[in-house]
């Protein structure tokens, strides 16, 4: 009996150490990332203030870009998304919409809104994709091509888009996104001005809910009305301004949002295109590219810049949020598992030695550790199995420090881009940042935990996130 008791005590000690190390590691690294981001974002913002985009706009070295928009049952948002893409301020631009076998009126709406006619097309697949059925054009809008293909999923639609793309770079955006007019130029700035070939350049995603839009244009920036959406605004700021900028500075970019990123076409084709193995094809491709480049002794660079903005809808109900977060966590686990070979391998540099292990432990396994921590640590303390003083440490790490990081992200936004012009919005953001870790974080954690369970169960199902209509138009 005493053996069992000793074993149980040991197990509790180990568990406590794991939980504490998780919080220490996560919070510690996020603090470093925040400090790094603060300086880098400040410098970048100053640079843009005196450099501007004029030189890039008129530079003969600015390469052509094709915007690829994969769409599946996006009838409410697709027209505005295409409009915003066509309005993008970029010298050489093409837009390809890949309708991935929609069963609603997505294609119909595109045909009517842009006066498209069917055409005969020649398809030269460089990477495999489901067959393209129909091509649509309007000769008076030569920069737009719409194709309809057999359903094969988002990654398949993106692969079809890559096959149709003729420019050296392509930018994929989601159908529920609105681009700022100069965001593509800003996104290409690090590509054009980098000494090393930049194969991926990602921008920031901001939340559209609460903003005023018309005809694919953002008229006024504002905060959403519901608490759920406001917490997501803070979360996105923390994630993009602190996290991703910091990882970019360290050279360990592992995640670039697939909703808005530029890729070097030839390199993506060489790496095999978007994979069907995971539900987060964007992250999968980035890791694949890093792995491929190291294996083939190619010097490439992935970039993240926090001023090219793409506005997107965020879930406004708990059910939709749950779907989204489960999918993200499932995709993260799938990708980490698929590329586990690069873990702690020095040939993959910062990605293999720091970024990938961090994402595996803090972002992947962390969902389980933190979830169990919230459930078991208070229970152990209540049962007297661990010292009560640990409660303070746990509160510090789990609740208070998280608030510090979230407020830090809002401060970062205030010091640099200041997208929310009203003082009232800033105060609201600070309040929501302060309380983000008291309830919202735990809620999201629960969904992430479900995502891990789905991964363990072997699920590969894509959970579609319904759009409520921040970018939507009335159906004719």
């Amino acid at each position: 009996m005493s053996h069992i008791h000793t074993f149980f005590d040991d197990w509790v000690t180990v568990f406590n150490l794991v939980v504490l190390s998780y919080f220490f590691l996560g919070n510690g690294i996020y603090t470093i990332l925040m400090l790094l981001s603060l300086r880098a974002t400040w410098v970048h913002q100053r640079q843009m203030a005196y450099q501007g985009l004029e030189a890039l706009r008129h530079s003969p070295l600015t390469p052509p870009v094709t915007i690829i928009i994969p769409a599946w049952n996006e009838q409410d948002v697709i027209v505005n998304c295409v409009r915003t893409a066509l309005q993008a301020d970029y010298p050489h631009l093409q837009v390809i919409v890949v309708d991935d076998g929609s069963t609603d009126r997505t294609l119909d709406r595109l045909v009517k809104s842009f006066g498209l006619v069917e055409m005969d097309g020649a398809y030269h697949p460089s990477i495999p994709s489901a067959p393209v059925r129909t091509y649509y054009i309007n000769p008076t809008v030569p920069s737009l091509l719409v194709v309809s293909k057999v359903r094969g999923g988002k990654s398949d639609a993106l692969n079809a888009g890559i096959n149709l793309c003729r420019s050296p770079y392509f930018c994929n955006i989601d159908a529920d996104c609105l681009l700022e007019r100069d965001s593509l130029l800003r996104l290409m700035d690090p590509v054009v001005n980098s000494a090393v070939q930049t194969v991926v350049s990602g921008g920031i995603i901001r939340i559209l809910n609460g903003c005023e839009t018309r005809g694919g244009r953002l008229l006024k920036v504002g905060l959403p009305r519901t608490w759920l959406e406001r917490f997501q605004v803070v979360e996105y700021l923390r994630c993009f301004l602190s996290g991703r900028t910091g990882w970019h500075l360290l050279g360990g970019t592992l995640i670039v949002s697939g909703a808005f990123a530029v890729f070097h076409r030839a390199t993506v084709i060489e790496a095999g295109g978007f994979s069907h193995d995971t539900v987060t094809e964007d992250m999968d491709l980035i890791v694949e590219l890093c792995q491929w480049a190291a294996d083939n002794h190619r010097k490439i660079r992935t970039s993240f810049t926090s001023d090219p903005v793409c506005w997107t809808e965020c879930p406004s109900t708990l059910a939709v949020l749950a779907n989204q977060r489960r999918r993200w966590q499932l995709g993260l686990c799938q990708t980490l598992w698929k590329h586990s070979g690069i873990l702690f391998r020095s040939r993959y540099g910062i990605v293999g030695m720091l970024s990938f292990p961090f994402h595996s432990y803090v972002e992947g396994m962390g969902a389980v550790v933190e979830f169990l921590g919230y459930v078991l640590v208070p229970a152990f303390i209540y049962l007297g199995m661990i010292p009560s003083r640990l409660l303070l440490v746990f509160i510090l790490l789990g609740f208070v420090y998280g608030g510090f990081l979230s407020v830090g992200a809002v401060l970062l936004e205030e010091l640099t881009y200041r997208r929310y012009p009203r003082l009232k919005d800033l105060v609201t953001l600070l309040i929501f940042a302060l309380f983000e870790n008291l309830g919202y974080r735990q809620l999201v954690l629960y969904y992430r935990f479900q995502g891990v369970l789905k991964f363990l169960a072997g699920s590969r199902r894509w959970e579609k996130v319904a759009h409520v209509g921040a970018t939507a138009e009335e159906l004719p």
């Binding site: 640079q47 005196y50 055409m119």
Partner: protein, 487 residues
């Protein structure tokens, strides 16, 4: 439950309190920054309200001494705020450049910017006044920021006497300053700075110097006028393949930009010097580096030299597909003078690489009626259904189907009519029907009445089968066409 006398608990408690205080400190900083920004915004707004009409009058050319005096009374820092939108929003137009330069000189701004660069330190504004310390309000006056602004403004003004200062800024250890200096040098385009930049290019390309960045250097040099090209000779003929590649790329960019300005650009020996022409034709067109050959092809296209045609012919047959691709793409610039190369371009329609074929189609279409006829002839005679598909696609994307159908409806004969008939009987099953659907009833009627004038033959042809792209484009079916349709 928690034992507060325990040292660990006390430590934890202290850390919790510190973090909470730190959080509130961050909140205070955020609110303070916002307050500062609002104050600065108000200051700029008032300044603009007060002085923008004066500035507008001065910029309109109505030179009133009173207005100039009013501006002169302002502190230089305020003047910079007033002038900022003129520099940051768009390129200054050529016509007002001289006047604007004179104005900045008169107001002492150029001197201020030059002194900031010359000393490498922050020069204090020469006059003081109500807004002298505005920079502490929102745009904090860090040294790098003011230096960069000064460099940018001198470049935007194209104040050529300042080029040595900008070259000096290239030696700054901060990449941001180097970068903006390169852009300013490019915008300024001072011919005397070009050889200096060329030497920098050599040093960077050979790895002797890590800075300034190669791409920035290349972009800056590519912004110079065509008149500076002779200074590229040492780079174009350099033994180092990297230097040859980068300089050919610079030459190509300058030439292509010039060609966009002057549609009938012809590069003579006077423009480029006989040595550069010779280098292009004898060395760069057959360079060991295929990237250099590809770029050279794009320049050779504009050469007014009889040796250019054979050189281009060879480049169209290069063993590297992207050299062929870039050559055939460049030939689109030739317009009417491409006649001797029409057959070679048409030959590219049989290239093994689909991108070269597609580029050849586009080039032939851009070469006017002669090129279009060559393309149609190829379409009518080629048994290769992949190329025919590509041709159909480009024709439809360019909206040429409408023109073809209209010509056919109006009774035009020849290659256009045969083309329409082939498209109608299956080569373009979707595009043509869409075009017919959108035509006016009269044109559609004329088209159909002409097309079905030989209805019996067509019915025989269509008997028992509905045409689709694959089946109708096979060589067998092309041979099966009614005699008057099979060209």
């Amino acid at each position: 439950m928690v034992d507060t006398s325990d040292p660990v608990t006390q430590w934890a408690f202290m850390i919790v309190v510190s973090v909470v205080m730190g959080t509130f400190l961050l909140i205070a900083v955020a609110l303070f920054r916002r307050w500062q920004q609002i104050r600065y915004g108000r200051y700029v707004h008032i300044l603009q309200l007060q002085y923008r009409p004066v500035l507008a009058r001065v910029l309109s050319g109505a030179r009133r001494p009173a207005d100039i005096d009013t501006l002169r009374e302002l502190p230089l820092s305020d003047l910079e705020i007033l002038f900022e939108p003129l520099f940051s929003r768009r390129r200054l137009p050529e016509r007002c450049l001289v006047f604007f330069q004179a104005l900045c000189l008169e107001l002492g701004l150029i001197e201020l910017w030059q002194s900031r660069l010359a000393s490498g330190r922050l020069a204090a504004p020469s006059s003081s006044g109500n807004g002298a310390n505005h920079e502490s309000l929102g745009r904090s006056g860090t040294r790098i920021f003011l230096q960069a602004i000064s460099i940018r403004n001198l470049g935007a003004l194209r104040h050529r006497p300042s080029w040595p200062l900008l070259i000096k800024a290239l030696d700054d250890r901060r990449p941001e300053v180097q970068f903006v200096a390169l852009r300013a040098l490019g915008a300024m385009g001072a011919p005397a700075s070009f050889p200096v930049l060329r030497e920098r290019l050599h040093a960077v390309a050979q790895g002797n110097s890590p800075s300034p960045p190669l791409r920035g250097l290349q972009a800056a040099m590519a912004s110079f006028d065509l008149a500076c090209v002779p200074a590229l000779l040492p780079s174009l003929g350099h033994t180092d393949r990297h230097i040859r590649l980068h300089s050919t790329e610079i030459l190509r960019t300058i030439v292509c930009r010039e060609a966009a300005r002057q549609p009938r650009l012809a590069l003579t020996q006077q423009l480029l010097t006989p040595q550069i022409v010779e280098l292009l034709l004898a060395a760069l067109a057959v360079d060991t580096n295929s990237e250099t050959r590809a770029r050279a092809a794009e320049v050779i296209v504009f050469l007014a030299d009889p040796r250019a045609t054979p050189a281009l012919r060879n480049l169209l047959l290069d063993h590297q597909w992207f050299v062929r691709l870039r050559t055939v793409q460049a030939l689109a610039h030739l317009r009417q003078s491409a006649a001797p190369l029409h057959l070679q371009i048409r030959g590219c329609l049989r290239d093994s690489h689909w991108q070269v074929r597609e580029a050849a189609i586009r080039t032939l279409l851009s070469l006017g009626p002669e090129g279009t006829n060559q393309l149609y002839e190829h379409f009518l005679t080629s048994p290769n259904h992949t190329t025919r598909n590509q041709i159909v696609q480009v024709i439809e994307r360019r909206g040429l189907m409408f023109k073809l159908v209209e010509l056919y409806s109006n009774g035009t004969n020849g290659v256009d009519a045969r083309m329409v008939e082939q498209l109608a009987i299956g080569a373009a099953p979707l595009g043509l029907s869409e075009v017919l659907r959108t035509l006016t009833p009269e044109v559609r009627l004329r088209f159909l009445s002409r097309f079905f004038s030989d209805a019996e033959a067509k019915i025989r042809f269509h008997e028992g089968k509905q045409p689709d792209v694959e089946s109708t484009l096979s060589p067998k079916h092309i041979l099966d066409f009614p005699p008057h349709l099979a060209a």
